[in-house]
């Protein structure tokens, strides 16, 4: 394991979004390793598998086939080894219901997918550079949804 790299994972069924995501990290020049998963099942199989590198930060889309982001979130928080992983919700919608649910289940931040590439880069760099271990203590529902 190379500690210089920040391990990032994204679970999103949308190919275009995965493309934007990786391209954004490439342009951000952050030393990072991005792991991509097409759905919740694939993600959980990896996380529960032996000999895996646990990501430092997981970006989780909510609306996915087979297993939704919300289900993944619940499973992760129910698993002792995975519980401490920082989780950013990465979704198209920002409905009150989704925000409420994910906050209650223990996600660290809620990102509404931006409609501008430059904005996306800004958001991702903000999230990646935040020390979530430290930030958690000050977490509340009002700053849960990331606004830039």
């Amino acid at each position: 394991m190379n500690s210089d790299y920040i391990n990032i994972a994204l679970a999103d069924d949308d190919e275009d979004d995965r493309l934007f995501f990786t391209e954004a990290f490439e342009e951000l020049k952050i030393k990072s390793k991005v792991l991509l998963f097409k759905d919740g099942v694939e993600l959980m199989e990896y996380l529960n598998g032996a000999d895996r590198t646990l990501p430092n930060l997981l970006f989780l889309d909510l609306n996915m086939p087979k297993k939704s982001g919300l289900e993944c979130l619940k499973e992760i928080k129910d698993t002792k080894q995975l519980r401490d992983m920082a989780i950013a919700i990465y979704s198209t919608s920002a409905s009150e219901e989704d925000i409420e649910n994910t906050f209650v289940k223990g996600a660290n931040v809620y990102i509404k997918k931006p409609n501008d590439f430059e904005k996306l880069k800004k958001v991702l760099s903000e999230v990646v550079t935040t020390n979530w271990q430290y930030h958690t203590s000050g977490l509340n529902k009002d700053n849960f949804l990331l606004r830039l």
């Binding site: 949308d14 275009d16 979004d17 934007f20 391209e23 609306n63 198209t92 919608s93 409905s95 997918k113 931006p114 409609n115 501008d116 590439f117 430059e118 996306l120």
Partner: protein
């Protein structure tokens, strides 16, 4: 319990009876007094004749005495003896004939004494004649003289007696006349009183009879009306006489089970024949409970007519005690088929509505999520093209990209506004007491950038605190202020005046028929481009715009949302505009004091 009228009649009867008895008593007394008076008059006459007889008898005795004294013939002594006896009888008769009053008895005694003395005189004169019949002796002469005096005294006595008797009689007659003179008046009065009482009783009785007759007629009318109203309202009544365990069904109850009135014996068994077999058990139980607890709560059951029609009936009854303690159950049975049917329809519609609402929220989700996703990608790819491929795109290509960008931005705005509009319809509304000043401040904070940009000035009154859905009212303020900012005049910094006052509903034309007495009137007045008053109502319609897209950006949804929000709060919103002077939006929100 006797009614007041029967008590009155009884009193009248008793008083009448008493008066008649009084009259009878007085009549009897009066007649006996009358007969007593005539007896007295008769007695008076007899007394007179008796006294005259007495005088004549005395004279007879005197004649007999004189004859004997002259002739010494004892033959003359016979009439003397005879008149002596007669006088004795006369005196005995007088004892009973005199009125024993005013000294008359004493006078009679004096008379008797004088008569006795006269006879003593007679006897003395007889003894003086024995020796010589021819010679009138001195002594005899003296005796005769004395006899004469005695006779005079007797006459005087008699005259005295007669006079007294006469005066006593006159006195009695006077008293009686007085009495007799008063009694007819008294009788007459009593009679009048009795007649009046009888007349009153008669009037009372006739008026009672009339009232009875009237109430009988009323009862008759009422019965007919009940029958009519039962038919019209599809209801019926029944009575259960608990002690006799007998039922009485009204005509319409027969009709409710599809039969002719009174076509079968009103018993429970006969009624059960019409009850739907699935409801029979339940109804039976309810009726058993009713017989035990003497009350029937609302009970629903179905009946099946002979032709197979099924009707829903509803029964209810209550116990009634009358004054004599006789218990009867009074029941009402109503045809509730329409009610049940309506309820079913409403339930169906509710389900439909619920389904539509679900569909609507599903649409909301699709609109918010699925429609926004491809749009977001188009926008992101455009931004990629713009930055990454910047050097390889021609000028016209860059122009196309700009146009695509503004078109997609507009589409995003439309989607977001539409969502907002549908949210004002469907989202859960919680009315919470909120200080509206806070909402206005929040709205201004939200619009901070455009307010700065336009150098707008917002002047506002103190706003009230009221029960509102806070995020909606905030949205309302945002939409109205941004509307004013958007339609400001070129080169004129917008001034928005927000004023508030409480108004009486009846004093404002548009809300005078409101159910609420008071309204909050909140006005947003600006100095923007305004609009022609002709369009005052149109601007609140969905997708309605007064200006071209290139002049002023906008979706034509903002004011429609405003209207919706105000209507959600049972208020109204009115627009007033003057081209190039400004627009005024007035909101009336009802409240309770």
């Amino acid at each position: 319990m006797p009614t007041p009228s029967s008590r009155y009649l009884r009193t009248a009867f008793l008083v009448g009876l008493f008066v008649i008895l009084c009259i009878g008593g007085f009549m009897y007394k009066h007649i006996s007094e009358l007969s007593q008076t005539s007896q007295e008059v008769e007695d008076n006459y007899e007394l007179r004749s008796e006294l005259e007889l007495l005088i004549s008898n005395l004279k007879d005795a005197e004649i007999g005495q004189r004859g004997y004294l002259l002739t010494s013939d004892s033959l003359f002594l016979n009439p003397y003896q005879e008149s002596l006896n007669k006088i004795q009888n006369n005196l005995t008769a007088l004892d009973t004939l005199i009125i024993p009053k005013g000294g008359q008895v004493e006078k009679l005694k004096v008379l008797k004494v004088d008569i006795a003395k006269r006879f003593e005189n007679f006897d003395k004169s007889f003894t003086l004649t024995n020796e010589d019949n021819t010679i009138l002796t001195q002594e005899l002469l003296f005796s005769l003289h004395e006899g004469e005096i005695r006779m005079d005294r007797i006459r005087e006595d008699i005259i005295e007696m007669l006079r007294l008797e006469q005066s006593l009689l006159t006195e009695h007659q006077k008293i009686n006349e007085k009495k007799i003179g008063l009694t007819p008046l008294f009788f007459y009065g009593l009679l009048i009183v009795t007649l009046v009482i009888l007349l009153l009783a008669y009037l009372k009785m006739t008026s009672d009879l009339r009232a009875l007759k009237e109430s009988n007629t009323e009862l008759d009318v009422f019965e007919k009306l009940t029958k009519q109203s039962e038919i019209v309202s599809d209801s019926s009544t029944w009575v259960w006489y608990i002690e006799e365990n007998e039922f009485e069904f009204s005509d319409n109850l027969y009709r409710l089970v599809g039969e002719e009135p009174q076509s079968f014996e009103p018993t429970l068994e006969n009624f059960y024949k019409y009850v739907h077999e699935e409801d029979l058990d339940n109804l039976g139980q309810q009726v058993n409970t009713m017989m035990r607890e003497e009350e029937l709560p609302f009970t629903n059951f179905r009946v099946v007519h002979k032709d197979g029609t099924i009707r829903h009936l509803k029964a209810f009854s209550k116990l009634m005690d009358d004054a004599q303690g006789v218990k009867t159950m009074l029941g009402v049975t109503v045809d509730a088929t329409n009610e049940v049917e309506n309820y079913r329809i409403i339930e169906q519609r509710n389900q439909e509505l619920e389904r539509t609402n679900k569909e609507l929220s599903a649409f909301n989700y699709v609109a918010s999520h699925d429609l926004q996703e491809p749009l977001r990608k188009i926008q992101t790819f455009l931004s990629r093209l713009e930055s990454k491929e910047k050097d390889r795109i021609s000028e016209s290509g860059k122009d196309y990209i700009q146009r695509m960008k503004s078109a997609s931005a507009r589409m995003r705005m439309l989607i977001e506004d539409l969502l907002q509009y549908s949210r004002t319809n469907t989202s859960e509304k919680e009315y919470i007491k909120t200080n509206m000043n806070m909402l206005l401040e929040d709205a201004q904070a939200e619009l901070f950038d455009s307010i700065e940009e336009k150098q707008a000035k917002i002047i506002c009154d103190e706003l009230p605190t009221m029960d509102v859905v806070s995020f909606q009212i905030q949205q309302l303020f945002i939409n109205l202020i941004s509307n004013s900012l958007k339609y400001s005049r070129e080169g004129v910094p917008p001034i928005i005046e927000i004023t508030h006052q409480e108004v009486l509903s009846r004093e404002v034309n548009q809300i005078k028929n409101s159910l609420y007495k008071y309204h909050h009137k909140i006005t947003f007045k600006d100095n923007g481009i305004g609009f022609d008053q002709v369009y005052a109502d149109k601007i609140f319609l969905l997708f309605n715009r007064l200006h071209g897209k290139s002049e002023y950006s906008g979706t034509g949804i903002g004011l429609a949302i405003c209207k919706k929000i105000v209507e959600n709060h049972k208020g109204i919103i009115i627009a007033k505009g003057e081209p190039n002077i400004g627009a005024t939006f007035t909101i009336y929100l009802p409240f309770l004091k």
